[in-house]
């Protein structure tokens, strides 16, 4: 006789399990499966975030055992702090450019390699390579590339007769932020590229053939067949890029530390500076709380928007 499962609380007609103790309800079983994830999220996400919110209600230097409760004062200070708003503005620029461009370029590259042309493997490896490099290493390398005195970029421009375009890339407040975003785009394009390349392999070729039969040109075929077929991949890449763009820290800290003249400060570098360099931990925690909420809202909004469209 085949053994069957008995679930407590289930209708009496449910098949009985022979020879072993009955299992608990589906709710308990479900919770059991979820428990490891709940524990991990609680320990590494919820508790630190809650603790961060708690710290943001104090004035504390991070060293002394005494903290002074100041309520929402840190948030009030934050609202009137021009450096925070300037950092947030840089974050928005970064998140937009750092999402749109890697997604667009990654998709373009994936489309070019979709039919596995000659050199496919080499190109795939080259386009993805920046993703496997540690951000700190990338930042150090680009610091050298951008160096106003020794940097290869200005030398290259000089050598090809474009010396007039040579700039102190990360030394000029007008160009520094964009020079850093360019590094981020170079690194992040590889991620979108690989995801899109995999998604493109799943596009129904019958649909593409049908579009061709209907005399659709390349753009129409891409717009009406390919793009709708890879929406899930698109959502995934956009959300991940958006979060990465809003949370970026390492490139900026290694290359400019938020300078020159705060022109590359992001909320992440600003909170680090406040909490750890100026030992203004309560205020840094307030900046962190607001940054986290902004990231959360942005990510959820993008997902909701995609789901509604679908």
């Amino acid at each position: 006789m085949a053994s069957t499962l008995t679930v407590r609380g289930a209708p009496e007609k449910a098949p009985r399990r022979i020879g072993r103790a009955p299992l608990r309800s589906p709710l308990v079983a479900g919770l059991g499966f979820l428990l490891p994830a709940i524990v991990v999220y609680t320990v590494f996400m919820i508790y630190p975030f809650a603790n961060n919110v708690y710290l943001s209600l104090f004035e504390w230097n991070g060293l002394s055992p005494d903290k002074e409760f100041v309520g929402l004062q840190n948030y009030q200070t934050l609202l009137a702090d021009p450096l925070f708003w300037s950092a947030l503005k840089h974050n928005v620029i970064w998140a937009v450019l750092g999402t749109v461009l890697p997604v667009a370029i990654g998709l373009l590259l994936a489309m070019l390699l979709r039919d596995q042309p000659r050199g496919y493997t080499v190109f795939r490896a080259v386009f993805f390579m920046p993703q496997v490099l540690a951000p700190v290493v990338v930042a150090i390398i680009f610091s050298w590339i951008y160096d106003p005195t020794f940097g290869i970029l200005n030398r290259l421009l000089d050598d090809v007769g474009l010396g007039a375009l040579a700039q102190p890339w990360i030394g000029d407040p007008n160009t520094a932020l964009y020079a850093l975003i360019a590094v981020f785009i170079w690194v992040e394009t590889g991620f979108g590229f690989v995801v899109f390349l995999a998604a493109l392999q799943e596009v129904d070729t019958d649909l593409l053939d049908a579009a061709e039969v209907d005399c659709a040109n390349a753009w129409q075929s891409f717009r009406h067949v390919t793009l709708p077929s890879i929406t899930n991949a698109m959502t995934l890449v956009v959300v991940i890029q958006l979060i990465a763009g809003l949370n970026v820290f390492d490139y900026v800290w290694v290359m400019t530390q938020g300078g020159p003249a705060n022109s590359t400060d992001l909320t992440s570098t600003y909170l680090y500076q406040q909490a750890f360099r100026e030992t203004n931990v309560g205020y840094g925690a307030a900046v962190a709380t607001v940054s986290t909420l902004i990231t959360l809202v942005a990510a959820v909004a993008v997902v909701q928007l995609r789901e509604r469209r679908q």
Partner: protein, 435 residues
């Protein structure tokens, strides 16, 4: 059966935990035979200073068999971040060579994470032995909390032979300096190797120029007695001269706001720049990387209507002793050894470090600039005719320190007026209580 499995698992976890605890036991207290292990975190990461520190630690161990040194070296910035959190969490070292600024070691003292050294100073005679001005930098609220090891000051360095080769002469006045910058640029050289990305030397250059304008005594009164202000026209002029006028005159490399101080120094070491801006901590590097060059140390040129020429003296870092743990006596013994004649000899000859203690300099085989710097440090600020002034930044809070670095970049970029930065500095100074 299930219970047995769980018991076995629990026993295994406990055994592993115990094993790991045993392996990782590192309370830095006592080893076998009553030996004390002293955990030391320093900043001696480069060749000369690292070698000197290793030798001195080894000599100390030899002289004190009951103490073992467990040393780790970190870069200045890294230790500034790590040291505070480590001490606060009870995982720090027994002894640390740490940033002596009010916003750094001053905060450790305020938070009772390091111990006052006054009793040890009396016991070991540090009050007589160690230069008073140097001790002042690590005295917070009237108590001595740290011992500076390096008497250092800000200066310019001139590559005399290269300047001569360029057909120029070393400028002695500010007006001459501006002319020198233009002529040096025309001759294809960088006039002064200086970087501001990030602006870590901005506060040093500001102190050097400000002192030449208002004089060392005025700076002393401002930073120690809160007499005067940071936004006086004279102090604003100091900002204007270094961060605006000199940049406009082409004194610095192109893109100075994106050039690190280390890469700027390479221009000088590679004979692409005629002068270098910085301080005595660069002397060792100059001798190592430019052994055949003819380099001299000089203060900032005189400024018309100013107070003379000064080298702002101060302490970047100081030895501090953790309040956590039982090794404070051994730590004090270790600190005392750092200023012993044998150690001073090694610090100076091998490390290019100038300890602030009276030493017969003629008995040591010193490079000329190290000897010159040591003579100045030993002379101190109080001697009549002294060219020594005062550091400013160690009396600043972390907020003011960062505000100045960012502001200096903004003035150089032309997005902030010198007087505006001077006003911001004064406002923050007042907000910090004008310490």
């Amino acid at each position: 059966m299930r219970f047995q499995r769980i018991s076995a698992l629990a026993a295994a976890v406990a055994a592993i935990s115990l094993a790991l605890t045993a392996c990782g036991s590192d309370d830095g207290s006592t080893g076998g035979g009553g030996q004390v292990t002293l955990k030391v975190w320093d900043q001696f990461t480069d060749g000369g200073t690292s070698e000197a520190a290793k030798q001195i630690y080894a000599d100390f161990e030899k002289a004190n068999p009951d103490v073992k040194i467990d040393a780790e070296s970190y870069r200045f910035d890294d230790l500034a971040q790590l040291g505070k959190t480590a001490l606060a969490s009870g995982t720090g070292p027994d002894v640390m060579y740490f940033d002596a600024g009010l916003g750094e070691a001053g905060q450790l003292a305020e938070s009772d994470l390091i111990v006052p050294l006054d009793d040890y100073a009396e016991e070991y005679g540090w009050t007589d032995k160690i230069n008073e001005e140097i001790r002042t930098w690590s005295t917070y609220d009237g108590k001595l909390f740290g011992l500076g090891l390096e008497g250092e000051f800000n200066s310019l360095f001139a590559n005399d032979s290269l300047i001569e080769k360029a057909g120029l002469t070393v400028p002695t006045t500010y007006d001459e300096l501006l002319d020198f910058c233009g002529a040096a640029k025309d001759a294809g050289y960088v006039p002064i190797a200086y970087g501001q990305g990030p602006a870590v030397y901005a506060k040093d250059m500001y102190a050097m120029v400000a002192q030449n304008i208002v004089g060392a005594d005025s700076v002393h009164d401002l930073i120690f007695d809160n007499q005067g202000s940071f936004n006086s026209p004279e102090m604003a002029k100091a900002i204007d001269i270094w961060f605006s006028q000199m940049n406009d005159a082409g004194c610095f490399p192109d893109g100075v706001n994106g050039l690190s101080v280390d890469n700027a120094a390479l221009l000088f070491h590679g004979s692409k720049a005629l002068m270098l801006a910085g301080g005595t901590w660069q002397i060792g590097d100059i001798y190592e990387k430019m052994p055949d060059s003819d380099v001299t140390m000089m203060p900032f040129p005189t400024i018309e209507g100013g107070a003379g020429q000064f080298y702002p003296l101060g302490v970047g870092s100081a030895w501090v002793i953790s309040a956590d743990g039982d090794n404070q006596d051994a730590a004090a013994k270790f600190l005392d050894y750092m200023y012993s004649p044998d150690a001073v000899d090694i610090w100076m000859t091998k490390g290019g470090i100038i300890p602030p203690v009276a030493t017969d300099l003629d008995s040591l085989d010193l490079q000329p600039m190290i000897k010159q710097a040591a003579q100045l440090v030993q002379q101190g600020q109080d001697d009549a005719g002294s060219q020594l002034g005062y550091y400013i930044w160690p009396r600043w809070s972390g907020q003011l320190f960062n505000l100045f670095q960012d502001g200096a970049q903004a003035v150089t970029a032309g997005s902030k007026a010198p007087q505006e930065l001077a006003d911001e500095v004064q406002k923050q100074w007042e907000s910090d209580g004008g310490q």
